[in-house]
């Protein structure tokens, strides 16, 4: 009895903690959005360019491989199934639609969360435990403008661009599998793909990508700021930022699809 009371209290305080953290993160995000009006100012544009570069370039190699294989797997999976009905040619639309709508933003989001997001959490976490954030505050330099805003802008801008890249490579990868394994010519594959994928699919996919970018930036920066207990804490913050980003991307991805297609 006493025990269950205590664990209920603990759970209560954990829920409270979670809500408080979410509140902090939201406040940080809103303030960073407000500060985007300074993105072209002399003080901020340098850092924004650096972040754009880091976000765009850092994971290109991984994204290339993952995108190709995602398309290839999709083509192979659906192709084998469709072949039973003699409809192999439809892998074009199957791959294109699921890449553009779901897999493109999703895969890109996971990779960027694991690479760029974790690096942001580690960097800001290190800054927090070595008093650099405190130093910024004392100098009246708002960390949400100085650090969060450029990262937010970089991720929101680069995620859709990288997603388009992922989509193109994925669709191409699917086409290669179609041509070599399923006897669907590249021409027929592309015709089928462009016939069924709609502009709406593209817009929804890109919207998702941009939102995922904001999620990754918010979670990573927030976890960085919350870091305590030195180098160990930085490791924890990095890991938490990746896990939380993954979860939020999954849930939001589902909800956005639901919102636009049901």
């Amino acid at each position: 009895m006493k025990d269950s009371g205590r664990s209920a209290a603990r759970m209560g305080s954990q829920v409270l903690q979670l809500m408080q953290n979410t509140g902090h993160a939201m406040f940080m995000l809103l303030e960073a959005i407000y500060f985007t009006r300074y993105v072209f100012s002399k003080r901020s544009r340098g850092e924004t360019l650096v972040q754009l570069y880091i976000t765009g370039i850092k994971s290109l190699a991984v994204i290339t491989v993952v995108a190709m294989f995602t398309g290839m797997i999709l083509a192979l999976q659906t192709g084998l199934e469709l072949r039973r009905y003699g409809q192999e040619v439809y892998i074009g639309s199957a791959v294109a639609v699921s890449m553009i709508r779901e897999m493109g933003p999703f895969m890109t989001g996971l990779i960027i969360a694991a690479s760029v997001g974790s690096a942001i959490a580690a960097q800001i976490g290190t800054m927090t435990v070595s008093e650099e954030i405190a130093a910024l505050e004392v100098m009246s330099i708002n960390p949400n403008r100085f650090l969060v805003m450029p990262r937010l802008v970089a991720l929101v801008v680069m995620m859709p661009i990288l997603t388009v890249y992922t989509n193109i490579l994925g669709i191409f990868g699917g086409g290669v599998v179609g041509a070599t394994q399923l006897g669907v010519s590249m021409q027929a594959y592309m015709d089928n793909a462009t016939q069924f994928a709609t502009n709406k699919d593209l817009y929804v996919g890109l919207l998702k990508a941009a939102i995922f970018g904001a999620v990754i930036a918010t979670v990573a920066c927030h976890q960085g700021f919350m870091t305590t207990e030195g180098a160990v804490g930085v490791g924890k913050a990095t890991r938490r930022s990746v896990i939380i980003s993954f979860l939020v991307i999954l849930v939001l991805g589902y909800m956005i699809t639901r919102m636009f297609y049901i």
Partner: protein, 254 residues
């Protein structure tokens, strides 16, 4: 100038500051000593509202800063320059960019003027050729001096030093002590210095305050401090080979 009124601060279930009151006057070189974990850094952090007391007030220039709005807090903070215990330099910026940061953020100075100001500080702190290096490539002592240059680049009225000389060689330590003294003499700057080095505390301090287990066990002039009856103070003095009749050179407040 800085006044603590019955400040109590609990951190992680522990009372780090227990009902502390003291005052730092204008032009003072106020030294805070105490064992590791005594709450010295926590005390400094309260002065610039990086921490807020659980109860009690921190008053800066007659203004209670506990509940200040952001804009007012900003105003208060411009009075301060802070040298953090860990130097707190931004790792991805060169020494020059680190020192120039407050100027670039808060003034409309042209690049030429900024670089000239930075250069002035670099020479003052004997960092002549370190300008293009990055913090990670500097020794601990050099990082401290860069941190100090950044702290004073906006000409603050009050400078807080958290262990400015720990880990430095005696000659460099002495130079930093001289600098603290010089800034008071030439610019009238008020200093609060946290240090473990009692010799330096006695030499430069106008007052020395010792913290122990959340309490102030002594707050006195250097002359009174070494004659303190308090046991913790005495053992602290003895640990650094300073006796009641000990002699030392005074450079700050003769």
């Amino acid at each position: 100038m800085i006044r603590f009124e019955n400040v109590t601060k609990k951190l992680g279930g522990k009372t780090v500051l227990n009902d502390i009151s003291f005052e730092v006057g204008e032009g003072e070189t106020f030294v805070i000593v105490g064992l590791s974990g005594a709450g010295k850094s926590v005390t400094l952090k309260h002065m610039i509202r990086l921490m807020v007391p659980n109860s009690g007030n921190v008053v800066i220039d007659g203004e209670t800063i506990n509940g200040l709005s952001r804009a007012a807090l900003r105003e208060v903070r411009t009075k301060f320059g802070v040298l953090f215990q860990s130097s707190a330099l931004l790792q991805w910026m060169s020494v020059i960019d680190n020192i120039a940061l407050p100027l670039r953020e808060h003034t409309r100075m042209g690049e030429e003027e900024i670089l000239q100001k930075v250069d002035e500080k670099l020479r003052m702190l004997n960092l002549g050729d370190a300008g293009d290096k990055f913090p990670a490539d500097l020794s601990g002592g050099m990082q401290k001096r860069v941190g100090l240059a950044r702290a004073i680049i906006m000409n603050p009225k009050i400078v807080l030093y958290d262990e400015p000389t720990s880990g430095l060689d005696p000659v460099t330590s002495r130079r930093i002590d001289d600098l603290i003294v010089g800034m008071r003499k030439e610019l009238g700057i008020t200093s609060v210095v946290v240090t473990h080095d009692l010799h330096s505390a006695l030499a430069i301090g106008s007052r020395i305050m010792m913290l122990h287990k959340g309490h102030i066990v002594e707050n006195a002039t250097p002359e009174e401090f070494i004659r303190s009856k308090d046991e913790t103070v005495q053992s602290f003095l003895e640990a650094q080979y300073i006796t009641k009749k000990g002699k030392w050179e005074k450079v700050g407040h003769e």
